[in-house]
Amino acid sequence: MGRRRRKLLFGVLLLPAVAAGALWWLTKPNPWDAAHWQGLGEPDVANGEQVFWAGGCVSCHAAPRAPEDQRLVLAGGRTLKSPFGTFYPPNISPDETAGIGNWTLAEFGNAMTRGVGKDGEHLYPSFPYGSYSRMTAKDVNDLWGFMQTLPKSANVAPPHDLPFPYNIRLALGGWKLLFLTDEPRADVNTADAKLARGQYLVEGPGHCGECHTPRNALGGFEEGRWLAGAPNPEGEGRIPDITPGSKSIGNWSASDIVSYLETGFTPDFDTVGGSMVDVQKNMAKLPPADREAIAAYLKALPAS
């Protein structure tokens, strides 16, 4: 074997190892520095409740078909269909064994904003941390405080039903590398406090884009199609475009949008339907100024 050949062989062997090492480093779970979750003080539980409704945790984490008065028991177990398989959101009640009662604020916060689980594993983005990543540490702290006040449940949700390769958590690091950001999704005038608030609610806790933005084959948002409407992941039908270019709501005024979020009625006296029903119920629990901020932000978006 000549020297050139040996060098070449060495390179061929080494390169993938370096690449794999770099890939591992780039895609390993990436929680915040401990300091991010320190010094936040006593949580403001009343604000935590508002964050809880804005975040819509109940829609995914309440037990399936839970009656109205049991919806605050975050027992988990409903089915969540996606193109990648079926997810069963876990129990996130304050129960110490079945739920997340023994988690620290940092563990909870890293799950919410970085998609990192208690044991340092990657979480699936069907838990919309790709939006929650924009939440402030204060809001996460307040939310955590509110969640301690909720009832416990001993329920254990079934494991997710995902085909290979989607059942491999390690691979989620690649998804995060490509798609997980806390950058703004749209360019709006954030000097306007109302628009800034609307942007925070829609792009962050409200996670409106998770349903209203179309995805590419890898499950990331399509470039330049923010809130422009998407196929319904549950099967037939479409989730509507909610930018000013929308065929259905493009001609709604900001106050039409506010009133839809508050009452569920459209300006032509149709009512909200599908998975938006839960979202609307949650929006109805926010202060009026928040619904106005959301409407102002939607009207300020570029038309699709």
Partner: protein, 148 residues
């Protein structure tokens, strides 16, 4: 040649028939019924928001329209009308027809209760709309699919 002409004629005749009866197709009929329910709801909403003065006759007529219309509404979902004519009906209706009918009956029943104890002022109409609106969205949540 004769066969082709015959087939063409038959096809055209078929087209003619669907064009003439489009408005009688179950999909069109039920959409029309829902529009009627929507209009009646709109009349109530105008009063609730104070855009129109309270008028007992209008409240009564609107509630009656809603209750009568949803009674016949579930009759317009025969097999074969699952798709077409831009229907927004979900295929789940045909899998859970009994539940679908129960949701229609719930709205009908609530409208009748309100007719028996007619809301007496603007605030009363607002409260009534809150009740009815939940019935609408509880059915639309499971059984109507937006298509655009």
């Amino acid at each position: 040649m004769r066969v082709r002409a015959f087939m063409l004629a038959a096809a055209l005749a078929g087209l003619g028939v669907t064009a003439v009866t489009a408005a009688d197709e179950p999909q069109a009929v039920r959409q029309q019924l829902m529009k009627k329910v929507g209009q009646a709801t709109g009349a109530l909403s105008g009063i609730a928001k104070g855009e129109k003065p309270y008028d007992a006759e209008i409240v009564k007529a609107s509630l009656a329209t809603i209750s009568e219309t949803v009674k016949v509404f579930p009759n317009h979902f025969p097999a074969g009308s699952e798709t077409g004519m831009e229907t927004e009906a979900s295929p789940k209706i045909w899998e859970n027809m009994e539940d679908f009918k129960a949701k229609a009956a719930k709205l009908g029943g609530d409208a009748e209760k309100l007719l028996a104890e007619l809301p007496a002022d603007q605030a009363g109409v607002g409260a009534a709309l809150g009740v009815l609106g939940k019935d609408c969205s509880s059915c639309h949540e499971s059984y109507r699919l937006k298509k655009d």
